[in-house]
Structures are given as structure tokens and as C-alpha cells.
């Protein structure tokens, strides 16, 4: 434990990077996953199939292999994403490592986001849409007033699971040279082998806090939007 407390700023920095990876790739995969879900349930059958293939491919590929593709295979073809290091946003610039890790996490997670979205839309009973049509609501009205409000509520629990999995999956970036929590834990343990149990518990607690915060926020949102049915 001592090793963690005497290097507490490093511990915080490591979890800062973990949270950074989580937030950036979380937002990106929510966007990409939603687009995929629209393709998946939409009326154009080509996009339908393309999204299905994407989801099947990425759900069955280990995240580590996606990292291998982006960190080891793509630089061979000349894509090392060094360009992003030249872009400056409000005085900060992003490292290519961070960008690539987020890219891998986003590609992987968006497949799961798509499935969660789809299950949420499918969870709305068919009778609801039929009733909306029957009382003469237009498509936009029945979507906005009947379907989407229910679908959004149904999506929250599976989406939380996906986001929690993403928070834990950021640890894979450790194997590719990002000094996030798991890599830092490994470094600490390497230097202080006699304190390995304490170090492990300290980092485990950090992850548990991150996970619990996500699930508490989702629980709060779920309670807030809950309606009697």
C-alpha cells in the first residue's frame, strides 16, 4: 500500500488516463453505435446486412486483436495516426497512442452499443405502435410520443452494462504502451514486489469506484425517468 500512497499523484494520473479513455471512446462509440443501430433497424436492406456483418465481426473478435490491428498491423501500411499530434485543441494536443487506443475501443464497443440499442427498440411492445397508429398519430408523433420514450428507458440497463464493460476494457490499452491504471499497477508491482497485494487492492478499489459511479449514475437516471406502466 505504501508504494501507492507515496506515489499517489501517479495513481491519480493513471486513473485519469483510464477515465479519459473511457469518456472519449464512450461518447464516440455511443455515436457510432447509434448510427449502426439505425442502419440495423432501418428499411434499407443493404445497410441492414452491412451493420449486421459489422456487429458479428467485431463482437466475435477479441479486443486485443483489434488493438493488434491498429497498433501493429496498420503502421506497416502507413497508418500510424501521427497526424493527430499536430492538431491542437485549446492548448492540448492528443498523443497518437491515445487516439489509436480510443479508435480500437470505439470500433469494438460500438458493436455492443448497436445491439443494446436494438434490444431496447425491440423491447417496446408492438401493441404500443399499433395503438399509436390506431388513434391517428402520424409517424413522427407516434415515434416521439410513444415509441422513443419507452425505448430510451428500456435501453438504459443494457447500455450501462456496455459502458461498464468499456470502462474495464480500457485496461487492454496497458498492453500497448499507455500508462493507464493497469499498466501503472504493473509498474508499481514490478518495483515493490513485497507490496503486491496492497497495490492490487488499491488499483482494484479504483476500478470498483469507477464502475460503481457509472452504475449509480445509470440507476439515478433510470429512477428519474421511470414511469408507472
Amino acid at each position: 500500500m505504501d508504494a501507492v500512497f507515496s506515489n499517489f499523484d501517479e495513481y491519480l494520473k493513471a486513473f485519469g488516463l483510464t477515465i479519459g479513455l473511457f469518456v472519449v471512446s464512450g461518447i464516440a462509440s455511443l455515436v457510432l453505435g447509434t448510427i449502426l443501430a439505425v442502419f440495423r433497424v432501418g428499411p434499407v436492406s443493404v445497410l441492414n446486412k452491412a451493420a449486421a456483418v459489422y456487429v458479428t465481426m467485431f463482437r466475435n473478435t477479441p479486443l486485443l486483436m483489434i488493438f493488434v490491428f491498429i497498433f501493429i498491423a496498420m503502421p506497416v501500411m502507413g497508418y500510424n495516426f501521427k497526424v493527430v499530434e499536430d492538431i491542437e485543441i485549446a492548448g492540448y494536443n492528443v498523443s497518437a497512442f491515445f487516439f489509436r487506443a480510443c479508435l480500437a475501443l470505439t470500433l469494438y464497443t460500438s458493436a455492443f452499443v448497436c445491439e443494446a440499442m436494438r434490444s431496447g427498440v425491440n423491447a417496446v411492445p408492438l401493441g404500443q405502435a399499433e395503438a399509436g397508429r390506431a388513434i391517428g398519430l402520424t409517424f413522427a408523433q407516434s415515434m416521439n410520443l410513444v415509441i422513443l420514450p419507452q425505448a430510451v428507458r428500456a435501453v438504459i440497463p443494457p447500455m450501462t452494462s456496455v459502458l461498464i464493460a468499456l470502462a474495464k476494457n480500457t485496461s487492454v490499452a496497458a498492453a500497448f504502451g499507455l500508462a493507464e491504471a493497469t499498466a501503472t499497477m504493473r509498474g508499481f508491482t514490478n518495483d515493490n514486489a513485497d507490496q503486491r497485494i496492497g497495490i492490487f487492492l488499491a488499483f482494484a478499489v479504483g476500478y470498483i469506484i469507477v464502475v460503481e459511479v457509472i452504475s449509480l449514475v445509470s440507476y439515478g437516471i433510470e429512477r428519474k425517468v421511470k414511469v408507472a406502466r
Binding site: V76, I147, I164, A174, F203, I208, S215
Partner: protein, 285 residues
């Protein structure tokens, strides 16, 4: 399609518009694939000698025996141990005694919330490094057992809870003991409901064996490196190894769907509470 009731049957204009969308997306997808293939061609990734190792018997044997077989062995051991772990803790979470229930809840929640990779690194430093008693193969198995076992504990708990209450009540009414009710009435019925979820968890375990890469464990991810260091064919190695993972996972998923249809019918698989569910140990129905 569920949303079809939202629309009237498409009229001629909508059909025409959808046709335009179809053409546009077909063109876009073709362009994407063409771009990928062209990039690979342009950077010389389609050269035969880069692919040659994968049709050379020694290398094929190396990938299949040292890679695929080791990966499957790791996944096999982890899932077997995980089922045992999950059974013990799943039943413990349903115990009537609080001093059994709460520690079981704590263990399950802890291992579900901690990343597998963190567990692996810890097991590696605790048990393997230096003159530790275990190889990194077993560290992967231990980490995966703890994680998947905890997930399966939730599966078992949910599965047992999904058996209609009357079954347990009837068993108590004919004078069975608690352990008898569990082993001869609840579990046999619950296993049927849980089997698809267990098989899907095998897919997760198999995918996670790839994380052994970080602690130098054997397996598919480990055999790639020597090959691409020798032939400098990173892209091809990544493609072939990913294809192997996807193929094995698709077979497992297919089995899971079959089992699901056979045993449970078209109903959706078990719905599991998420990690950190706030009524964790308390819902002992």
C-alpha cells in the same frame, strides 16, 4: 421488423427513394472495400511471400497446435472451473443465512467489477514470476475463472430464481430438506434455462484468453509475434489469427442458439442484473 407497423406499406415514391438509398449505400460500401483492398495492394500486402507461412505445413501446425490448441485449452479449463465456482457462489448467494450470503455477494461483485487484465497481472506477479509455482498459462486460467465464475454465479442465481416458485414450495410440502430441494428440484430445471447463457460466457472466456498476451502466456496471440518478426507480415498475421478467433466464436454462438431453441424456446435468454446492482444479495426469492 418491429417498426414496420409505424409505416404504411411503402408507396411507389418511398420504394423509389429506398432504391436510391440502396444504390448509394452499395456504392459507398463497395468504395470502402475497394479502398481497403487497394491500400493493401499499394503497400504490397497482397504479395504471396507474406502469406506463404499460412500455407506452409510447419507454420500451420505451429499456429494450430501452439496457438489454437493452447487457447482452447485455456478457455476449456477456465470455463470448467468457472462453472464450479459459479455454482458454489450462485447457490451461496441464495442462502438463507446472511453470513453465507453477504461474503458470497462481496466476492462475486468484487471479481465482476475488476478488469480481467488486472487480475491476470496480479496472479502473474503473485504466482508465476521469479520462482513462482505456476506458469502464466495457469495465471490466465485463474483470472478467467474468477471473473467468469462470478458472472456465472449471477447466471446460476438468476436461473434458479427463474424456476417457478411452486416447484420449491411443492418440494418443501412433500417434506424435502433444503439441500434436497436445491439438488433434485431446482438445479435440474435451472440448468436447462442457463445452458445458453453458459455457452455465451464461453465465447467471452475464449476472447479473453487473448489477454494472456500481456503476461506472456501461450495461445493464438502469442504465436503471431515470432511469425511476423521472421517474415515481417504483421497485417497477414493479424488477419489470420483474428479469423481463427472469429471462426471458433461463431461455432460456439451457433451451438448456443441451437441449445437455446431446443431447451428454452424462442424466449429471450436470461436477463442478468448489471454489475453493482443495488439489490445484490437481498433478492432471495
Amino acid at each position: 421488423m418491429t417498426t414496420s407497423v409505424l409505416f404504411d406499406a411503402p408507396g411507389p415514391r418511398t420504394v423509389a427513394r429506398h432504391r436510391v438509398y440502396t444504390v448509394i449505400s452499395l456504392v459507398a460500401l463497395t468504395a470502402l472495400i475497394a479502398f481497403v483492398v487497394w491500400t493493401m495492394y499499394d503497400t504490397g500486402q497482397l504479395e504471396y511471400e507474406l502469406w506463404e507461412p499460412f500455407v506452409t505445413p510447419e507454420y500451420v501446425e505451429y499456429i494450430l497446435v501452439d496457438g489454437l490448441l493452447e487457447t482452447l485449452r485455456m478457455a476449456f479449463f477456465s470455463i470448467i472451473f468457472a462453472v464450479v465456482f459459479g455454482l458454489v457462489f450462485g447457490v451461496a448467494k441464495l442462502s438463507d443465512r446472511a453470513w453465507v450470503r453477504w461474503p458470497a455477494w462481496l466476492v462475486v461483485e468484487f471479481f465482476r467489477a475488476v478488469p480481467v487484465l488486472l487480475l491476470m497481472v496480479f496472479a502473474f506477479f503473485l504466482l508465476a514470476i521469479g520462482d513462482g509455482p505456476l506458469t502464466s498459462f495457469w495465471c490466465v486460467v485463474i483470472a478467467l475463472t474468477l471473473y467468469n465464475g462470478s458472472v456465472l454465479a449471477e447466471v446460476f442465481r438468476a436461473g434458479i430464481n427463474a424456476v417457478p416458485r411452486g416447484q420449491a414450495e411443492a418440494a418443501y410440502a412433500v417434506g424435502m430438506r433444503k439441500s434436497q430441494v436445491m439438488t433434485s428440484v431446482l438445479l435440474p430445471q435451472a440448468v436447462k434455462i442457463m445452458l445458453p447463457a453458459i455457452i455465451s460466457q464461453m465465447v467471452v472466456a475464449l476472447k479473453d484468453t487473448s489477454l494472456g498476451y500481456y503476461i506472456l502466456a501461450p495461445g493464438l496471440t502469442a504465436v503471431g509475434k515470432p511469425i511476423y518478426l521472421e517474415f515481417n507480415n504483421q497485417v497477414q498475421v493479424a488477419i489470420v489469427i483474428t479469423a481463427l478467433y472469429v471462426a471458433v466464436n461463431l461455432v460456439l454462438t451457433w451451438i448456443a442458439t441451437k441449445v437455446q431453441k431446443r431447451l428454452v424456446g424462442e424466449k429471450s435468454p436470461l436477463e442478468l442484473s448489471q454489475v453493482g446492482n443495488l439489490d445484490g444479495g437481498s433478492n432471495t426469492a
